[in-house]
Amino acid sequence: MSSLDKETVRRIAYLSRINVSEEGLSELAGDLTRILDFVEELQEVDVEGCEPLTSVADLTLPLRKDEVTDGNIQQKVLSNAPMTDAGCFVVPKVVE
């Protein structure tokens, strides 16, 4: 039984880069604890010698030649950006 406290939720919210208000943190602590309780039953399954199943696709990843297959689509890449300048994405200042 794992109960999440407000500080843990604050940390998860930051890792997720989602702003959460103080009241929101308490509500989320309740919701997330409820979900974790729900998945807790997995702990009782015997998985001795069992490899994790990451994909059901019975494939080895295909290889292709390392060559340029597209490009010259700067306008398309930028067309949905909230802010652009001189053919670049504009971000808040990150270096003082």
Partner: protein, 492 residues
């Protein structure tokens, strides 16, 4: 003249081929029906001009003797498929106004086969939900009513697609299914929904939720329609490394109606505690129908079934937390930022404003189970249990050709019900999630009505890449059940 919106996909295809009507006429009829049913909120974006353009081009193409598998047939596209130049929202505020510069492989295949797009169908935000009540663009209302007449959910996440087909606002629709998002709404709306094998349809250009589970499929009025549409959607795509490099069979040819000697498995673990009597009876009736058609019914065991939901609600949020990291307010989508804000401030404000509650919850659960110190206890453990679930099915399919179960534990419920407790909502997917985790094809076929007069579906699960058996048995179930009920106003 017959009401063109009441045709099945197959009937409309054959009528077009005979010249009984044109794609322009078919498309106009559906656009009118969309106007008349706008209260259901099945579409986020209607594209009537594009539809008419595509219909005219299709009629011209046909006149030259060149007709694809879906030539001239108007369909709805779940708003999770990127469509070139047409707003694609994933029902999220964060993607409001996003106009892809490219076409998803599945829609590209459909349009290449002649299909006409009527609009983009509503869904749960980022396909996370079972009720279509988490869309930023409002709830979808199920065209079916219970005796009280109150508004019911269409199921989710492909709720707009299901409602559009059930209310004759599209001949068929695309859906996507991660844990039941095609099959459960199909059951709630009295239509057919087919989730193909993982890898059958390309995921390229579909807004990603949980990449090891997501799969596109058809939502249609009949099993034959599902066979036709899947044939026009599927195929290997070099742009999706998990897309299977195998040929697409003629799915319609699989509908022989003959299942004599086939073995159908009945998993005892699906008879869950508290299963409503009417669901249990529906299932028993389905068993009897298949037995009467000459199939051999066999008891099978899928011992890890009870752990499927728990596994899913670790694996899917984990993958979602990673996939949804791309919404950063920089490259596309909403940006929220005030003067003097740092990069982190911008990320955090944009994502708080752009994502709804359920999406935020799932991102955070996913972040938690992947974080240092919890990865092994939660995520890795879930992946190991996922293999146990996969092995259960491998064992069962050593004995049987297909497995029959109910699609959902209930009929459609009222809007607002099951809210407030995320886990209660998750229980709707109890019968669909196991096949998703194992990547298996599953179809929901409407076979009966609840005491409240609402549709109920049965699910058939097949072996990997054996959609043909799923469709063949589904076709037999459909004929035997003879489900002819329609929502009020849509009677034939």
């Amino acid at each position: 003249m017959t009401d063109l919106t009441k045709l099945t996909l197959a009937e409309a295809r054959d009528g077009l081929a005979k010249g009984d009507y044109t794609s322009v006429e078919l498309t106009e009829a559906h656009l009118k029906s969309m106007d008349a049913h706008r209260n259901l909120n099945a579409y986020i974006t209607e594209t009537p001009e594009k539809a008419m353009e595509m219909a005219k081009a299709s009629d011209a193409k046909r006149a030259k003797g060149d007709a694809g598998k879906m030539e001239g047939l108007p369909i709805a596209v779940k708003d999770l498929f990127c469509t070139e130049g047409v707003q694609t929202t994933a029902a999220s505020h964060i993607l409001e106004g996003f106009k892809p510069e490219y076409e998803s492989t599945v829609t590209s295949n459909l349009f290449g086969n002649g299909a006409v797009m009527l609009g983009k169908a509503n869904l749960d935000e980022f396909a996370m939900g079972s009720s279509n009540t988490s869309s930023y663009y409002g709830n979808v209302i199920n065209p079916w009513k219970d005796k009280s007449g109150k508004d019911l959910v269409p199921g989710g996440s492909s709720g707009g697609s299901a409602a559009a087909v059930a209310a004759n606002m599209a001949l068929a629709a695309t859906g996507t299914d991660t844990g039941g998002s095609i099959r459960q709404p199909a059951s709630y709306c009295g239509i057919v929904g087919l989730k193909p094998t993982y890898g059958r349809c390309s995921r390229w250009g579909i807004v990603a939720f949980a990449s090891s589970l997501d799969q596109a499929g058809p939502m249609t009025k009949t099993v034959r329609d599902a066979a036709i549409m899947l044939g026009a959607m599927a195929g290997h795509d070099a742009k999706d490394s998990t897309s299977a490099p195998i040929a697409v069979p003629d799915f319609e040819a699989a509908l022989t109606g003959d299942i004599r000697g086939m073995k159908i498995g009945i998993p005892k673990e699906y008879r869950v505690d508290g299963m409503p009597e009417e669901i249990s009876k529906l299932w028993d009736n389905g068993v009897a129908m298949l037995r009467d058609a000459g199939a051999e019914v066999v008891d099978v065991t899928l011992p890890h079934t009870k752990y499927a939901l728990g596994t899913y609600y670790i694996v899917a949020p984990a993958e979602a937390s990673s996939n949804l990291a791309r919404y950063d307010g920089l490259r596309y989508g909403q940006r929220v930022m005030d003067d003097g804000d740092s990069l982190d401030d911008m990320y955090m404000k944009s994502r708080a404003a752009g994502f709804g509650k359920e999406v935020q919850r799932r991102i955070m659960i996913g972040t938690y189970v992947l974080s240092a110190g919890y990865y092994d206890a939660y995520y890795n453990k879930a992946l190991k249990v996922r293999r146990r679930i996969y092995q259960d099915f491998e064992g069962a399919f050593g004995q049987v050709d297909a497995i029959l179960t109910p699609t959902a534990p209930s009929a459609a419920f009222a809007i607002g019900e099951n809210e407030g407790d995320p886990v209660k909502m998750y229980l709707n997917d109890v019968f669909t999630v196991p096949a998703s985790l194992a990547g298996l094809p599953g179809i929901s076929v409407p076979t009966g009505l609840s005491a409240e007069g609402l549709p109920l579906g049965l699910q058939l699960i097949g072996k990997p890449f054996d959609e043909e058996t799923v469709l063949r048995v589904g076709g037999v179930l459909e004929s035997a059940a003879n489900f002819t009920a329609k929502p009020a106003g849509q009677e034939g």
